[in-house]
């Protein structure tokens, strides 16, 4: 059983109370909206992490706006197919988008020309997750961060790191940050399917794995995987006894897996405000808070539009800086 920190409980309680305050001054419902079901395009496959989160939150949003919400999964094209579909739809508030940090990386690497802080903007950032480095629980060669790094230094170019590593994505940038911070070289191996990635570590085909803790928590509990480093600014409550990357290199600017919902700023202001409020209530709802309670989030704070944009801008800067270092952009 994981410990719940007092501060976390307090934060949730405070958010809940605040939520009630805001309910009192509810945003005015626009005339004639919504008249029919609202479609949300999810550019990721059905059943995956993004899809599960979307369905959990949108169920609550649907209750708040009084019409059903239809989730349309449109995976493919490195999550751009769904985006283009959304971009082609009329901006009437009946087609919304779920997107993650791909929106940021695609903009920085010029795969998409649309800027997630300008051309389309967050309705709600619903989930911010950090990554960790894992080793096998029964590995005889190393058992924690220090022994792992000592081994990597003694065997240069030999240690393999399982990852999703596609050019410029979150995981590749994180692996680059790590190699720089620790001063070692890893051989990265790209596993696109999650199950293959987990099997590769448990089965002994790679030496370490870069993953998000919510996805591998069963293996952490069974002892098959052991976290040795967190990609956070301070040690997470759940993992107080393992170092975070900031301790290795205080210049590291952490980036996270950020999942949120978006609309275009050209949408009728009244509808925007109405939707933002509906998403906020959904985020603060008991059901959704329960859903995210065991997902190992960076924090469970609610972010308004300005705060969300600030978060995304910070990430864009980090990516741009890392891409320049890697020579991906000039």
């Amino acid at each position: 059983m994981r410990r719940l920190s007092f501060s976390k409980v307090l934060a949730v309680a405070a958010i809940t109370v605040l939520g009630f305050c805001f309910t009192a001054q509810a945003v005015e419902k626009p005339d004639n909206y919504p008249k029919r079901p609202v479609t949300v395009i999810v550019p990721f496959g059905a059943g995956g992490g993004a899809d599960q989160m979307a369905r959990a939150l949108l169920q609550e949003v649907g209750k708040n706006i009084g019409v059903p919400i239809i989730v349309v999964n449109k995976p493919g094209g490195n999550a751009t197919l769904g985006f283009y579909d959304y971009w082609a739809a009329p901006e009437d508030g009946y087609t919304l988008l779920q997107y993650n940090d791909d929106g940021v990386t695609h903009k920085v690497s010029s795969i998409l020309k649309q800027d997630p802080t300008v051309d389309y903007q967050p309705l709600s950032i619903a989930m911010i997750v950090y990554s960790q480095i894992y080793i096998r629980g029964n590995d005889k060669r190393f058992h924690d961060w220090d022994s792992f790094i000592a081994y990597a230094k003694a065997n240069p170019g030999k240690v393999t790191l399982g990852n999703i590593a596609q050019k410029g994505n979150l995981e590749e940038v994180q692996a680059t940050q790590l190699m720089k911070a620790a001063g070692v070289e890893f051989r990265q191996i790209s596993f696109d399917k999650p199950s293959e990635r987990y099997a590769s570590l448990v089965g002994g085909h790679v030496d370490a794995l870069l993953e998000q803790p919510g996805d591998v928590s069963p293996y952490i509990k069974s002892g098959d995987m052991k976290p040795i480093l967190s990609y956070t600014d301070v040690r997470p409550v759940e993992f107080q006894d393992i170092p975070c990357i900031k301790e290795l290199d205080d210049k590291v600017v952490n980036i996270y897996k950020v999942r949120g919902f978006y609309c275009r700023p050209t949408l009728d202001k009244k509808i925007q405000d109405y939707l933002r409020e509906a998403f906020k209530q959904a985020f603060l709802s008991e059901n959704f808070q329960k859903y995210i309670s065991d997902k190992y989030l960076v924090d469970t704070e609610y972010r308004d539009l300005d705060q969300s944009i600030e978060l995304l801008r910070g990430m864009m800067e980090t990516y741009a800086k890392t891409y320049r270092e890697l020579g991906y952009i000039k």
Partner: protein, 499 residues
Amino acid sequence: MEHMLMGLQYLFSDPFNIVLFLAALFGGMFFGAVPGISVTTLGAILLPFTVYLTPAQALMVYGVMYCSGTYGGAIMAILFNIPGAAENAPTAFDGYPLTKQGKAGLAIGAAVTCSAIGGLMSCIGMMLGTDAIARWAIVSFGPPEMFAVIFCGCALASTMGASSTLKGWLSLAFGLLLATVGADPVGGIFRYTYGSVGLMGGISFIPLLLGFFSISEVFSNASIGVSKESIKAYSNVGVEFPSLRTFWQQRVNILRSAGCGFCCGMLPGLGATLAAFMSYGFARSTSKHPERFGKGELAGVIASETGNNAATGGAMIPMLALGLPGGSTTALMLSVFLLHGLEPGPLIMTQQTQMVWAVFMAMFLANCSILGLGYVASKTVTSLLRIPTSFLMPFIFVLSCIGTYALRNSVFDVCIMLVAGLFGFLVKRHGYSAAGIVLGSILGSLGESAFAKTMQMSDYDWTIFLTRPFCAFFIGAGFLSLGIIAYRSLKSIRVATHH
């Protein structure tokens, strides 16, 4: 045994469980039969509702749907050349020619029985399967072994459906080339996309499957024109059920396919599709009459359907023992676990014994029910063939379009399907193999990603394929079968020129 009784007791102690069981059985069969939408689609839709069920009920629903869906796909593959999913494609190779010969009943009968046999055998394997077996599988089979198995699968099935060895290999190579379209699995570099957004994600194999199989069939029917004979040929539908003797003659084939399917199912990421293709390839290359395959050989239907259903039980082992899903349906089962606050993974077998065994028994019974239901179905479903071709073909055309569109709501995919259909129609006339192209495109993407990982792992040292025993075995078997195929065809050419 005690566990089995416990599972049975749970299933029958609540009438609601029986209702759920039946609903899942029919739902799975229906969604499995309609192309494009699949059990995964149904599973994703149902996922939010499973919170109202107990974990055991929810998992039972998914387990049963999984079994019956894999079987459902066979019906459409045999009757209309529309494989409901990729794992049913090899069933169509021989199933559809059998239908054309008026032996649809025979083919469906064999498919039903073998689905059930394959499923039951793998259920038994699954019940015996333990944590240790699952661990052995993931430790022994890393990316190099995956590549070797895929290579061997390609080699075994390389010439199916083609008029000559060379044309078979060319078809396969073209399929492999199609698989390279889109982002490469390591660097994300775009290949052959020509700036098209649709192509950036690669060509999905479902549009290819439906295009090469169903649409090209529609075109070739249109080119023949509707004559009175063609209507007559279809209305001659047999409801003959294969005799016990037929199955006894096929015992080796069935056992081998079940074993092959079970093992493929156990490897994360490979699953039922490879199982079906490999079983089919094995059956063909060990047959005394390999030339009959693709023209209506019952052994082909038997191998494919035994293989893909046997994969269901195999896939459950790593899912339950280690929380590693082998395919999309088992991945959904994992989501069910998580929705109920259960942690799938190494502890589930010991902590949730009753639930696990209830699911095992439900899958066991589902396979038994397929046998009974299938017998009835083969007598009724075949009457669909009494519909004249001129009505049936437009219906198939529309169904394929809907199926392709439903996959990811993309008109682009429908275009791909139509192009594939036209292309398939043209190349089939010249003896090239649509099946080979589809096989190449499915296994090509799996194989490329396994190959890329192997190269990254070994620091681009090729000898890794020969220094790992399992790997060397499968690579060797692959080359051996390529050699045998080449030798046979050279020999037949020499015989032909001598005469």
